[in-house]
Symmetry: C2
Subunit: 127 residues, 2 copies
């Protein structure tokens, strides 16, 4: 398998607080995001914190998707990492941002497994 991968890091602000605290909703969003990107799901694990917040991961054949949510701040920290070049991690990241109702987003993409790390396409967008 080729080492080349694309790692999208998204900072989502102004998200729907209720969704950010709903572990079942977040798991559903992440599974759908992986499938929409064309990924093959291997493991799914989401954890609800007390009093609030959710952390979770979907391990895909092509790497992973993760979230850490902070409902009290309307903030979600997202990673979508896909190996190979047949999947676009931005497909999943955009679906997640939309599903969480993010009002503002900042995203960078980092190539993985190709040698020196270069950060690509910094974006700070109001959605």
């Amino acid at each position: 398998m080729e080492t080349m991968g694309r790692h999208v890091i998204s900072e989502l602000w102004g998200c729907d607080e209720e969704t950010l605290n709903n572990v079942n909703a977040i798991e559903r969003i992440f599974v759908n995001a992986a499938l929409k990107a064309g990924a093959e799901i291997r493991e799914v694990i989401f954890h609800k914190f007390a009093p609030q917040g959710v952390s979770g991961v979907v391990i895909i054949s092509e790497s992973h998707l993760t979230i850490h949510s902070f409902p009290e701040h309307g903030y979600a920290s997202i990673d979508v990492y896909t190996c190979g070049d047949h999947i676009d991690p931005n497909t999943a990241a955009k679906y997640i941002a939309g599903s969480l109702g993010a009002e503002a987003e900042e995203t960078i993409e980092i190539p993985r497994g190709t040698g020196p790390i270069r950060v690509q396409r910094p974006e700070a967008n109001a959605l």
Copy 2:
């Protein structure tokens, strides 16, 4: 909980190929790395691919550690993300690099949850 976090991304090359293909060894290394950093472990899941390679995650109260290994290339792709300021993700990342026998490492650190994304401390080191 504060949104502020530190996300260390490490590209490890020249790792021990046998270790990179040993799902039990990698799980043990990652659990130990989380504990050495002072993290609280919540979920542990590691997946062995056929014919080779391991993907896995440790979800900690403070965020996560992940790996994707490519034994045939001696390459491992590592993320250590810790929220708050009482844990240094580099403690875990360095332990992992040493345990996998990495001969060369490139690491960047990305602040999370603090507003605009800035990439800090690019490093490319022969170990």
